[in-house]
Subunit: 334 residues, 2 copies
Amino acid sequence: MSNPVLVEVLRGDIVESAHPGAVAVFDADGKSVLEIGDTQRAIFPRSAVKAIQALPLVETGAADAYGFGNKELALACASHNGEVEHVELARAMLAKAGLDEHALECGAHWPSYQRATTELARSGGVPNGLHNNCSGKHAGFLCACCHAGIEHRGYVKAGHAYQEMLREALENVTGAAHNADNRGTDGCSIPTYAVPLGNLAHGFARMATGIGLADRRAKAAKRLFAACMAEPFYVAGTDRFDTRLMRSAPGRLFVKIGAEGVFCAAVPELGLGIALKCDDGAGRAAEVMVAAVMAKLVAHDDTLARKLREFARPVLTNWNGITVGGLRPTDVLA
Amino acid sequence: MSNPVLVEVLRGDIVESAHPGAVAVFDADGKSVLEIGDTQRAIFPRSAVKAIQALPLVETGAADAYGFGNKELALACASHNGEVEHVELARAMLAKAGLDEHALECGAHWPSYQRATTELARSGGVPNGLHNNCSGKHAGFLCACCHAGIEHRGYVKAGHAYQEMLREALENVTGAAHNADNRGTDGCSIPTYAVPLGNLAHGFARMATGIGLADRRAKAAKRLFAACMAEPFYVAGTDRFDTRLMRSAPGRLFVKIGAEGVFCAAVPELGLGIALKCDDGAGRAAEVMVAAVMAKLVAHDDTLARKLREFARPVLTNWNGITVGGLRPTDVLA
């Protein structure tokens, strides 16, 4: 692993830290449009592929049967902040299938958004599975199991019927093998599979365009992307990069972060999918990378490109609100 | 910046992320004992030099005048969790000088330790400067100002009489220039200066041994190191690496983390100082690096070396407590 430095962190005028990474941009026919670094090395996409993992929720007819609209579908693709709106919508999704938080097998953690944590604590509450940033995805899994008549207990385990459906979807969309050889366990206990960035970028171009996917899958993919872009608050939450970026160009950009510095993304109007990983796993750098890459891809659209270049240069302030530095893409990306 | 990968993060058996870095180990005479990567590049040590920044508190006689023991001196060198014990001791230190939290100019943030945050919120509280992880250092600054008759307002600013005393101490101990050219602003608003790892390692060997320092400074340095090693809870807090590592070998190892992946450390019985930085700023990797380096240095002591090698291989578990991976030093360090 020896990829180029793509992002620098400055304190004053001095580079304090640096982040190497790799980036792949592909079209839906599998043509490489941009590759930086080693795009053939297998990486764990983690939560960045939640939209692919939400396909069976739509394809099985569960989403329609339970009357799920954009918000529910966005939450099924989310790594959310655990804000009240996220928690209550995940609860409502489960209720449609006659379930509650006890069915969730993702584990509990305090909300990742600090204000949500302090509000929960102040009200005397403690977190349960609904506060887990993956609870929307898990609620989607459980609803699909119930609708399809699949026993839901143990749904997080490799080999469970529903995990096999997810594995089929991931293999089909990315064209990469997903099996015991490249399997790890994710933070929420489901399997995660290491695949090359090139396959992920190709897969997200397919998701955005429907090209190369069966009809029903193509429709489900477009519906999920549209839902996330229409309701970006439910994909992440207050102050979150994914939410802010998708809001900045409604309906035109799709981004999803994954743990350990991953993004899967798409520019649907260009038919392009993007996948990238910061080698060291830093989300702050992966955010700069995806914004800088998108700015390159939409260079023809001055207004949008300018917005994206701003996302690629976040300012760092300290506890007194004083500007102390910032992040910037290196020449390789800028 | 192109240092070797020193730490790998595994998910299952697959390397998910990797952290390059540089390490310097020097003795008090300035002899290099171990150098990995670029140890001449200037890095911001951030909070890793708090022990040097606490020297004037002792040297001015303020610590004695206010009756400060090991706990207070350890807190003056700390990046603490904001637990009740830390907050109340910082408050008591200020009270000795007739001050309270309003004199602090470090800014407020919720405690970095989650349980401290939820307990504070549950009790209806909000954070003030005392909860800032640097409040002990700032309390020490304020006490020294009051004792020495220095106007304390604006004490965080470059050029303030007390910051000039700190700058003199940093230059004297490390032998590196500290001035406007290599200055940045730290999270708590005081100046931080970028200096080479080699100078920092040499400086921490001097702190540990007193060699090359004026008598009064040598005594102050030894007293501060002894205080931190005697009361490691007050240097960091519950579940924190610095606290756990110093507790594992009472009085024999000194470590202090700094933001953006820095450690300054010492093995006093060997007369060695250590300074290292993870290039990408990851604290998780810097912890593995310092433990692995220390294990190398004390290889002659099987029991201690074994403990340190355990610190260098932390296990990663997920929200259900399932082991999903871990960190390990690469061959360069192991």
